[in-house]
């Protein structure tokens, strides 16, 4: 395949950026999107140009490091991460736009890389169960009904990639935050801190400059792990419940 790529280049957080056009040839349909970018980067290095910077690591769709807006869609046309998107989903001769996540709370670091440390701070605000090492009771002491365990798992699958924020017209982090609130809130182990968790995490989310949720639903459509949209309304209920008890 031969492709025209229009890629956002920005030297660092302060400098202005712009779209630049590159041509790539001999792209195999079996390549992942990142392997296609590797091919471009190898050529750029040999031309003495700096390669396109992008975050990536496991390339198996689970670490959540990679993320870019491809033709206007977070992670591109398939519901998966950029590393698991294959070039067979594009046609020979296509022009593809590649941009970083765009959100006020995710400043661009360079090219396609952004700073997602706001997500870490939301977890630090309460996305855990206080269970110091060594203090745990026998694992079977508290049975967990399978439906609750399954609900917890469905929310725990979040990989923290940030596609939800990038896809949201408001740059909201509601889906990310609600996934953790519902994961821990569905389990008996998470119950003692249920109220403080949701209140503190939502406070932190607001403090980081993420936008508000207008239930546009773009987040759940873009989510490579299928975190369901009702996760957000469930968190809203948790938040109300906790606020009333405060």
């Amino acid at each position: 395949m031969r492709l025209t790529l229009r890629i956002w280049r920005q030297p660092d957080a302060e400098a202005p950026g712009a779209m630049r056009t590159y041509e790539v040839e001999d792209i195999s349909p079996d390549m992942s999107f990142l392997e296609m970018l590797d091919t471009l980067n190898e050529a750029l290095i040999l031309q003495g140009e700096e390669p396109v910077a992008f975050d990536h690591d496991c390339r198996e769709g689970i670490c959540g490091a990679c993320g870019m807006v491809i033709n206007g869609q977070a992670h591109g046309p398939e519901r998966t991460t950029a590393c698991q998107l294959h070039m067979r989903h594009f046609a020979d001769g296509d022009t593809i736009d590649v941009e970083p996540w765009r959100a006020a709370a995710f400043p661009v670091v360079r090219d396609l890389m952004v700073d997602r440390s706001a997500f870490d701070r939301i977890i630090e605000a309460g996305g855990y169960v206080t269970a110091p090492t060594g203090s745990a009771p026998e694992a079977h002491a508290t049975p967990v009904p399978k439906p609750d365990a399954d609900t917890a798992f469905a929310h725990a699958e979040c990989i923290g990639c940030g596609a939800c924020v990038a896809a949201c017209p408001n740059g909201s982090a509601m889906l990310f935050t609600s996934a953790k609130v519902n994961h821990l809130g569905s389990l008996p182990q998470g119950a003692p801190e249920r109220d403080t968790r949701v209140l503190d995490m939502v406070d932190q989310m607001d403090a980081e400059g993420f936008g508000g949720c207008t239930l546009a639903g773009e987040c759940a459509t873009a989510c490579p792990k299928g975190i369901p949209l009702p996760s957000i309304s469930a968190m809203n209920r948790e938040f109300l419940r906790a606020s009333r008890r405060r």
Binding site: D12, D30, E35, G48, P51, G127, A131, G134, A152
Partner: protein, 651 residues
């Protein structure tokens, strides 16, 4: 050529003994060690600083636990968030001797299986401790809210895993590593918020600071600004994972690397059993030269999938058109009692063997079928989907083939490294004050790791072992501040900046990846699934040339004072080019076959690996003497008082 021979003419130094391992009955040793370990007064702990490098299962759990105990922790990871460490990608599960199934499991059986599975090249004391702690890990993770798979009654589900006959593997669909890592990451996050862990993401350790023989800090590069800084502490813990990426194509994350352990080795930490690498039998075969990494399919698939190839070489009919009697279910045929569940090394070699016979399937004949047709007929598609749904989806996405209707194609790939920094029972390396935990050390898996044991070891080391033993070291080595102007600090910083400058200033014509690929191919061919004397000589002749070429022809664009991913890569490859040489030398010197190390010259009559306990029942710990210079071999004799070494048999 002269250089190569010089490197091969290593000398043997004084034997190494593990002075920390208590004696007495094996089941009491860990209790005794913990009792004999000195404690640090809780009020004094906040005055003691510990550096932890890495935030995977081992590093994340260690950082969180040490901070909970009151120590001041400075922690590093190269990723943008501690949640992304490559433990996140482990799929299958975590072993624990809970015996919830009442199927005959026990601490002793897990101990026995691990020593045997490791082909009698691991320490009994360490493995027993691991088996004891395994049960506490499950308790700890459940308390953190790790959503393990459960039965309808609300209790935890388990499954059986490659190489064992009991059901002791706990799992969270095919994302066990992710869920365990998030548990550790959340515990760590709580400590970061409390101000007890100072977290440095996007910061890579590039060297170890050793002062008067003690590990006292690290030199690290801020990957965004390029800034080089020194960090000081009372002890340094490396939780930086394995070195599988030396092979270029592996199931490791793209940025996983050996720099931290290799730099520590150059500063005096012995490197143990570098040739013990694990090839995982169930990976998705490569699709072409563009391949940047390989993707593993959890070997839990082998519980229900049947592995086969056509009986006839060159049979290129589609799998559905090959009748039952023209298929060779070669694992079931050769190993009737374990069948498709034989340990990883055996399954991998058997796959290579049938492909070498020309019976492989898929592009280039580098694959075998893993067929679920029988499983779907037996338990229905829905049950298969419930168990393996996400793995099937992943396979379909990568290959564009539907594994529900067409058998998967799989092929072995480098997955895990049993070798690593030598550590004693306390997980301390040969540099006092430097500890290594998780995959970064060599200790518990011998020559072959059993499935679902890596997560167990990482968390055992981080949550339970290190926090107990590190306190003993700190209590015995009173606090003294490091003088930031100490000549050793300056020397280490200079060594780092010089090397980066050398990489940046070279106006060569080859990219970092081109060297990495070439090194990887060489190692895969000569030091991969099977090894020969001639092949290893060949690799040992080529590696120094390649290293020389690297420093002459490398091209790294950009500057050191900014984010520069090419520079990061090149700097890691420079270390791979040294480590690869030691791996080949270790493989050459160990003329026996054991576990993942298969020397073609050492085989039984029926072609299986032949161990040589007489000559090789030891850990090979190598001491660094200079780049390309012959290292010194120190042997730690292995003693088996509880599990008698036998030829492994899975037939």
């Amino acid at each position: 050529m002269a250089d190569m021979q010089a490197y091969e003419s290593f000398t043997t130094g004084a034997p190494l003994t593990d002075t920390k391992a208590p004696d007495g009955p094996i089941a009491e040793r860990w209790d005794r060690r913990r009792f004999e370990a000195k404690l640090v007064n809780p009020a004094n702990r906040r005055k003691r600083t510990v550096i932890v490098v890495g935030t995977g299962l081992a590093g994340g759990s260690a950082g969180a636990t040490l901070a909970e105990q009151g120590y001041r922790v400075i922690q590093f990871c190269y990723q943008d968030s501690p949640r992304r460490a490559h433990s996140v990608a482990a799929q299958g599960g975590i072993n624990a001797a809970k015996n919830y199934r009442n199927d005959g499991d026990s601490v002793h059986r897990l101990f026995y299986d691990t020593v045997k599975g490791g082909d009698f090249r691991a320490r009994e004391s360490n493995v027993h401790r691991l088996a004891e702690i395994s049960t506490q890990i499950i308790d700890q993770c459940v308390a953190q809210g790790v959503p393990f798979a459960r039965e309808y009654g609300g209790l935890l589900d388990t499954r059986s895993f490659g190489g064992v006959q009991v059901s002791r593997t706990f799992y969270a669909r095919g994302q066990t590593g992710q869920q365990l890592l998030l548990g550790a990451y959340q515990a760590l996050s709580r400590q970061i918020a409390a101000g007890r862990v100072e977290m440095h993401p996007r910061t890579e350790m590039l060297d170890l600071i050793v002062i008067d023989g003690y590990a006292r800090g690290i030199v690290a590069r801020d990957l965004l600004s390029g800034r080089i800084d020194s960090y000081f502490a009372d002890a340094v813990v490396l939780a930086t994972g394995g070195y599988g990426n030396v092979f270029y194509l592996s199931t490791n994350a793209k940025n996983s690397n050996a720099t931290a352990v290799w730099r520590a080795h150059r500063r005096g930490a012995h490197f143990a059993n570098p040739c013990f690498t694990q090839i995982h039998p169930t990976c998705i075969p490569r699709s072409g030269d563009h391949q940047s990494k390989l993707t593993l399919m959890s070997e839990s698939l082998r519980n229900d999938g049947r592995i086969w190839v056509p009986r006839q070489a060159g049979d290129d009919r589609p799998p559905g058109r090959i009748p039952e009697d023209e298929r060779d279910y070669y694992l079931e045929r050769q190993y009737p009692s374990f069948g498709n569940l034989v340990p990883r090394d055996i399954a991998s070699r058997a796959a290579k063997h049938v492909c070498d016979e020309g019976r492989g399937v898929g592009p280039g004949g580098q694959g075998v079928y893993l067929d679920f047709a029988d499983a779907i007929a037996r338990m229905g598609r829905a049950a298969v989907e419930e168990r393996y749904g996400n793995l099937f989806e992943m396979y379909a996405r990568i290959t564009a083939e539907d594994p529900y209707t067409r058998p998967m194609r799989i092929y072995p790939a480098i997955h895990y490294t049993m070798g690593g920094l030598w550590v004693d029972y306390d997980l301390q390396t040969t540099v006092p004050g430097l500890f290594a935990i998780g995959e970064a050390n060599f200790s518990d898996h011998g020559a072959n790791r059993l499935g679902a044991s890596a997560l167990m070891q990482g968390l055992a080391d981080g949550y339970f072992v290190l926090p107990a033993t590190l306190g003993d070291y700190l209590a015995r080595h009173p606090h003294q501040d490091v003088d930031p102007d100490h000549p050793a600090v300056h020397e280490t910083v200079l060594a780092v900046t010089d090397r980066l400058y050398q990489l940046l200033s070279n106006s060569g014509d080859r990219t970092p990846d081109s060297f990495h690929r070439e090194l990887g191919e060489l190692l895969w061919d000569q030091c991969g699934m099977s090894r020969t004397e001639a092949g290893l000589h060949k690799a040992l002749a080529r590696i120094p040339q390649l290293r020389e070429e690297f420093w002459e022809r490398i091209r790294v664009p950009g500057s050191g004072e900014a984010l520069n991913q090419s520079l990061e890569k090149a700097n890691r490859i420079a270390d791979h080019l040294e480590l690869a040489e030691l791996m080949c030398l270790d493989a050459l010197h160990r003329t026996e076959s054991c576990g993942g190390h298969f020397r073609e010259e050492s085989r039984t009559e029926d072609g299986e690996a032949a161990r040589d306990d007489e000559k090789f029942s030891y850990v090979a710990a190598w001491e660094f003497t200079g780049t390309g210079r012959p290292p010194v071999l120190h042997k730690e004799a292995l003693d088996f008082a509880y599990v008698h070494p036998t030829q492994r048999s899975y037939t």
